[in-house]
């Protein structure tokens, strides 16, 4: 069967790939592009492990058909850190011990990034709703929520930002 050629902007770079029409974006990222940072938990939209940002919108990549991203902008966990330093969310997750096995972490980080892009100083309740679509079997969530709040504080404090870079 002939495969479909897709061109998109992935983490800022124009790229192209071949896929089958029935493949999901999650499968194209992992199996066609070797970008295995994005994880698969459920495949049905319930766990958020596969979260990516598509044209500025947080989505489950397991619920997107790969050919849909033709001409679109996709952001994944691989694009979160800068060349020489981590994103403040990643620093906060490390310092706050916000993961154990780590399978849920890329999804939480992308959901948290989408939240902070929209709402730079969320309340704890807003953070809890912002990551309600992400499941974690290990941490009990509290450290994740506190780390996101800490990153938000870091990002709005110029002194702490300087310190990080």
């Amino acid at each position: 069967m002939s495969r479909t050629h897709v061109t998109c902007v992935l983490n800022g770079d124009e790229i192209d790939f071949l896929c089958n029409d029935y493949q999901t974006l999650l499968s194209a990222l992992r199996d066609e592009l070797g970008m295995i940072g994005t994880k698969e938990g459920c495949g049905t939209g319930d766990c958020g492990a596969c979260s990516v940002i598509l044209d500025g919108q947080l989505v489950c990549s397991c619920l997107v058909f790969a050919p849909e991203v033709e001409g679109r902008r996709v952001e994944t966990i691989e694009g979160l850190a800068e060349v020489d330093h981590l994103h403040p969310l990643q620093d906060s997750f490390l310092e706050g011990a916000a993961f154990q096995c780590g399978v849920c972490t890329p999804g939480f980080l992308m959901a948290a990034k989408a939240l902070l892009d929209r709402n730079p100083s969320p309340t704890e309740t807003e953070v809890r709703y912002g990551v309600a679509g992400n499941l974690c079997r290990c941490t009990g969530y509290d450290k994740i929520v506190r780390s996101i709040l800490d990153a938000a504080a870091r990002m709005s404090d110029p002194e702490r930002q300087k310190e990080a870079t």
Binding site: T4, D21, Y22, T24, G43, T44, G45, D46, G48, S51, L54, Q57, L58, V59, C60, C62, L63, V64, F65, P67, E68, E70, A111, A114, L115, Y129, G130, A132, G133, N134
Partner: protein, 291 residues
């Protein structure tokens, strides 16, 4: 399974007419989980999101035109729409998580034909019309006529909804939606209730619509509600006003619920009364605030 993304209504209708096994989709948040769950794959999926009419959102000539393929996240971020129809935006804003709302659409929520769809009761309460295109050209139908049973719609295989046309609220008119689930996020309604209320200059109810989700095979309108609430100044709920009991009885009369893991039929009847009262009070307060 093949994927196509037509850029015009005509192209989409042609594809659907030529492929009897084709199915339209927008957010795929119902479609993909159903395929994962073992439902046979369509031979062709037709993505509606690149057809300009399905993603348009504007107010004109006394109507709001809301594209059927706009994701909920765009609707909930839209200030004009939120001011006009706070209840509809509440419904859309309750669908799944932020991730799901990045994709889920009003067209998909309606045409998936679940009795628990959160955006459908407000659409029905608002008297929204669905604009439907297909082999036979364009037609319109009341949203309440689109779903005919669980997982069944009145659309034929070549048809799809391009947009919803919702009468702009008059002064003194507003809406509300609430649902009950056992936790705060990521669950399907045990019961949902939408209300639209119009009040006169003295704050008296002139017109009311109450619509329930998850208590019958389809969303149901409590048609007696308008007669019961007309002429009332709707205060906070108080057991002293007899009309609340009348409304409760009318709500129960419309319910034909099932027992399932989310709640028994009896429990659903009780919760439906509570939610109907709450949304009526909220919609009436919002309606007075527009005066």
């Amino acid at each position: 399974m093949k994927y196509r993304a037509p850029t015009s209504i005509d192209e989409a209708v042609e594809l659907l007419s030529a492929h009897p096994g084709a199915e339209v989709f927008a957010g795929a948040t119902d479609l993909i989980p159903q395929i994962q769950g073992g439902r046979p794959e369509p031979s062709l999926v037709v993505d509606l999101k690149r057809i300009p009419e399905t993603v348009r959102l504007e107010a004109e000539n006394g109507f709001w035109r809301v594209g059927a393929a706009i994701p909920a996240a765009v609707l909930t971020a839209h200030e004009g729409l939120t001011a006009a129809f706070p209840g509809l935006v509440e419904g859309a804003g309750l669908i799944g998580s932020d991730q799901i709302q990045g994709r889920a659409t009003l067209g998909g929520n309606l045409c998936n034909a679940s009795p628990a769809a959160d955006s459908v009761p407000p659409l029905v309460a608002l008297g929204a019309e669905a604009i439907i295109v297909g082999r036979g050209g364009e037609r319109s139908a009341q949203v309440s006529e689109v779903v005919i049973g669980p997982s069944a719609t009145s659309l034929d295989q070549s048809e799809f909804i391009t947009e919803f046309r919702i009468p702009a609220p008059s002064r003194g008119s507003s809406d509300a939606y609430e649902r009950f689930i056992p936790r705060t996020e990521m669950d399907i309604a045990v019961v949902g209730a939408a209300a639209r209320i119009r009040v006169d200059g003295d704050g008296r109810c002139e017109e009311a619509a109450v619509v329930l989700a998850a208590v019958a095979p389809t969303v149901v309108e409590v048609s007696a509600a308008s007669g019961i609430l007309e002429g009332r100044v709707i205060p906070h709920y108080s057991g002293r006003d007899a009309f609340w009991d009348e409304l409760g009885e009318a709500v129960v009369a419309c319910c034909n619920p099932i027992d399932d893991k989310r709640g028994t039929a009896e429990y659903r009847r009780k919760v439906a009364q509570v939610l109907a009262r709450r949304t009526v009070v909220t919609a009436a307060r919002r309606a007075r605030e527009t005066l």
